[in-house]
Assembly symmetry: D2
Homo-oligomer: 363 residues x 4
Amino acid sequence: MSSEFGKILKVSVFGQSHGTAIGVNIDGLPAGEEIDLEELQRFLDRRRPGKNPLSTARNEGDVPEILSGLLDGKTCGAPLCAIIRNSDQHSGDYAELQDKPRPGHADYTAWVKWRGQADMRGGGHFSGRLTAPLCIAGGIAKQILARRGVYVGAHLQVVGGIADAPFPLMPTPELFEEVIRKPFPVLDDKTGETMQAIILNAKEGQTSVGGSVECAAIGLPAGLGDPMFDGVENRLAVALFGIPAVKCVEFGMGFAASAVLAASSNDSFAVKDGKIVTETNRAGGILGGITTGMPVVLQVAFKPTPSIGKPQKTVSLSKMENTTLTVHGRHDPCIAHRAVPVVEAVTATVLLDLLLEGNHGTF
Amino acid sequence: MSSEFGKILKVSVFGQSHGTAIGVNIDGLPAGEEIDLEELQRFLDRRRPGKNPLSTARNEGDVPEILSGLLDGKTCGAPLCAIIRNSDQHSGDYAELQDKPRPGHADYTAWVKWRGQADMRGGGHFSGRLTAPLCIAGGIAKQILARRGVYVGAHLQVVGGIADAPFPLMPTPELFEEVIRKPFPVLDDKTGETMQAIILNAKEGQTSVGGSVECAAIGLPAGLGDPMFDGVENRLAVALFGIPAVKCVEFGMGFAASAVLAASSNDSFAVKDGKIVTETNRAGGILGGITTGMPVVLQVAFKPTPSIGKPQKTVSLSKMENTTLTVHGRHDPCIAHRAVPVVEAVTATVLLDLLLEGNHGTF
Amino acid sequence: MSSEFGKILKVSVFGQSHGTAIGVNIDGLPAGEEIDLEELQRFLDRRRPGKNPLSTARNEGDVPEILSGLLDGKTCGAPLCAIIRNSDQHSGDYAELQDKPRPGHADYTAWVKWRGQADMRGGGHFSGRLTAPLCIAGGIAKQILARRGVYVGAHLQVVGGIADAPFPLMPTPELFEEVIRKPFPVLDDKTGETMQAIILNAKEGQTSVGGSVECAAIGLPAGLGDPMFDGVENRLAVALFGIPAVKCVEFGMGFAASAVLAASSNDSFAVKDGKIVTETNRAGGILGGITTGMPVVLQVAFKPTPSIGKPQKTVSLSKMENTTLTVHGRHDPCIAHRAVPVVEAVTATVLLDLLLEGNHGTF
Amino acid sequence: MSSEFGKILKVSVFGQSHGTAIGVNIDGLPAGEEIDLEELQRFLDRRRPGKNPLSTARNEGDVPEILSGLLDGKTCGAPLCAIIRNSDQHSGDYAELQDKPRPGHADYTAWVKWRGQADMRGGGHFSGRLTAPLCIAGGIAKQILARRGVYVGAHLQVVGGIADAPFPLMPTPELFEEVIRKPFPVLDDKTGETMQAIILNAKEGQTSVGGSVECAAIGLPAGLGDPMFDGVENRLAVALFGIPAVKCVEFGMGFAASAVLAASSNDSFAVKDGKIVTETNRAGGILGGITTGMPVVLQVAFKPTPSIGKPQKTVSLSKMENTTLTVHGRHDPCIAHRAVPVVEAVTATVLLDLLLEGNHGTF
């Protein structure tokens, strides 16, 4: 059950960074949904590397081949499997890594877990490359959600401690669309310039920098999610922590709620246009694990890409002795800005799963 | 699947705050494990309310009755079900709440989800009282883990923005035991005094304050957890977000990783006493979702208890109009300090589940 | 996940034959469903032992106490936990069995599984007594299904090779109600008399006899169930094989389909009253794992109760040598006739789970 | 969760009969297992159609392409995804079927389930062709099981009511190997000739005939499986009912146990060579859902292939009126003999999953 999430809509991801292909199997999509493949490609392109100096030079077309589940452009109820063949692999870059695990990466734990048999070329199954198939699932989910009036968007929230303006309490689709049109996915362009400078600076210094993404879903009905361990937060968290390098998931005010009094945390209820709403949305649209009908808002923090050019202390697994490692190869000086569509994708997939479950109230 | 978590070890929680009983069914415990019921009671007592002015005046003995799964004091392989009968209920306090949902609480979403049929007395199934059965499961898990060399402990990390010293990078069982012996579960007593003042101040002001708990597990083998969506972080998150009022879950450096360069995030590997360790533990003992063998460290943030004495704006569900609510009844001015054993309990239960799965490597 | 089944509606069973209590936790019931406790008790009484010489002399009132999930007689969305305290235990009868596993019973495998720590008194967690909590879940499911136009009924199909008339191809609720009113649950009373003679004969001979139960569900919509491994047959099978002593589960023609040509197996489609029906129902209302809208029909075969008075060859676990066992205690000379409501209960619970999933088509 | 089964080892099947490709994703394989691809191909060839007049003329090479999970011929811990591209499709044969559901096939239920959007060419996702990916999973599982001393084999048990000699109570690998070497997979060749005559006769008459497969697994340890709903029988049943056309699953004596007294159903225990065994194996190696250490023996019954050349009564979905259908295209006059490796495959996969769970006792 490792590389899979979902309940009604099951998403299984497979592939290794330098294997034949990576891909995703999506089981449980509703039938009769038209999938706009060009729109899907545009979504995938938002995550694709090799476009500018802010990301890895690895250049993958990332054009998916859909093997099943589509008939005449529409979902047919059967599982949809899509694959992306790997093309621009430089596996030679990774030879040294078979013996010297990169600090901060999963090399060592994969080696332990799989008793020295893991595919460690480029991080293998733990590579950020596996987020491409997640984006296939999420891009499809976004199209189906849109048809049901639900819009999912995101922006780069933090890079190296510098914070973009947070979403206003009630984010809108228009705001998201604007972010998508920008070359750098922030709300405030001035802050975006600083962030880019930080990333390029890290690149020059042969290091990397952390960041975070804020995501929101607008248009969800109230009543989605089940109590305790099967709520919206639980289900989103289990999926979001599956994105490589994520170390924190928070909803609404998140950690900041630990610093305030109730008056700054509770959201007053009010009747507006015959509907119950909250005047603020500090809860991030979720109370008791169940949607309130307000936008679901979440933040996801990414640590700095662990693969850096600077020499680092590590061990030789074969000799069991201390040594030093200099990682060559092509790496991202920051992963967070490329993760914006990934967080959208995962969020959209989980929310579609919840919507399909369909046991939310009708009040 | 709502009020349940776990894979090999399944934990199902039931009950409502003012119902006949609350309880837990634990399926998948290894057989032959001696359960020290007095030790379990001492653990439950750490969470029990009514002990001092820092928590609700509701006074529940919280002595569990074990209905199954034990034979001559040992687990017998069959599911272990334990219940706690509710005794000190003042349901009258909650009559007004049937129509006026408390801001920040699950009253409104429960009403939507369950079409007006939810048990809304004292938060019903969403009450913090449901953490008592979680502590039964966790207290048992802690005893079984201890026999396997794994120690789980926690401390109050933040109250109202004031932070206790974080766990040193390599926490020890001795440190935890000291925290347990204290009346207020912090590392630094001076900070603890300030925190208590903040809580009592919130109480006087008929409001409440947020906080956070830091938890660590020492002695886990490397190789626990599966990649992507079934890793240690995913599984802990799904369970921890089931604790009422949790809005953030983070591992190791957590959100702070978004503000630093790789040099401050990566942990160097080193050989020490013939074993591979990391020199720091910013990853919180987890890389790629899999344990490194270093302590697993996590933080959980709690929002202020939503039930407060101050008048708040809300709506009348029956009249669909705006109104004001003054919550009576007995409430906690802060939930975080009582949540310390709850976070330990949930963490211990998840980690035991992972240990029982037993497919970690043997290197 | 052992003693649990279901997807939206999760049913967890706990308890041992001679423990403090047995019970069931039902998570995922729709809210606002009135539960008629007297009707539930009447349903439980159909399974209750000690009523006549055809079943064990163990006399249990089997009156459940509902601990949670009900408010003013209606489900409130929260998990419903119900327990039955054991009363008429004669554990002394079982002392010898701790060392000598009964042939055909789970004593030996429980001993292996749980490393000698299993509760082996009366079969422990493997006892047929655990079907009482299943009937609580099923009795509740039957009431909720009835409100949705679905009726589940069953009859004793075979005892010792003697077969009751099978359900006509299109069984009716009236037929079921008639079976319920009879002291012995068959369609044809003459056959029923022969069956009773066989059972009493087995009892006299200190042995037991096998049998089977046929069950049908009327009124289900077409389109329930998912393809391949999550179909109606798969889900019913996983639950039905959980009833002790079941060795065969079949749908529609079942095994007999292996002996015929397609003309005797295919059901012609026809339009009747503006609805698509099949003229026969050899498929048992299921094609490709999905309901056709015709009655779901299934058969479940039970082996003879393994506990018999006759001396049998077995081993001493402590001495690892061959020995002989004479089982004392009170046992059923046939379990199949008491299993009629149990099969109904399990079938009803699974079908309600499927109905609640709600992703069947709307054509 | 529809087209997926397994707990530690998750198997997801995708594809439609006339789509681009069919395939399987296998998540949870142990790392470092060498996969002999030639041996895998030989196993797949046992199921492959087009070899003789006893099966459909559709001629597919059925050579899998492995996209992930293998490194230098060994499993690497990551999910193994394998696909087979469809080649010999005659989709034109199926045009009429879009409107006229074939009796006995899933056409109608797929149409309802997926609201008229199902891929109905050749049965779409419900086609027997989907058993090819199951055989990929099973062929791999068989190789891994063999390395652990577990052998899984099967034979054609019944065709049209004519029964092959059942497995002797203690089947052996040698017996299975002999069946594999034969062109027709029976124990008794004389009976095999009669069965072939029945199949050819059905083919001539443009109809089809049912059959059954008996399967056994030798070498399993005692103690596999969990009680009640997660036992060996439950898990095998959920997977086996996923094979198209299966209507009955039984273990050991199966349905026949309903016709006998306990003396003919119970298996005496005995100590043999210092190990506890049963003298007979009527339980099919399973007591209380847990393995005894004796061979697991099961039978699976298949209905006649529903697609037959003879005209049949059905309905027009568009006109909602009665009509007649003559199925053209290439079909199997019997599916049971080709299902022998499929039953082996599914059984092997489930048993490997159980073995990997690893929580069986050690006595």
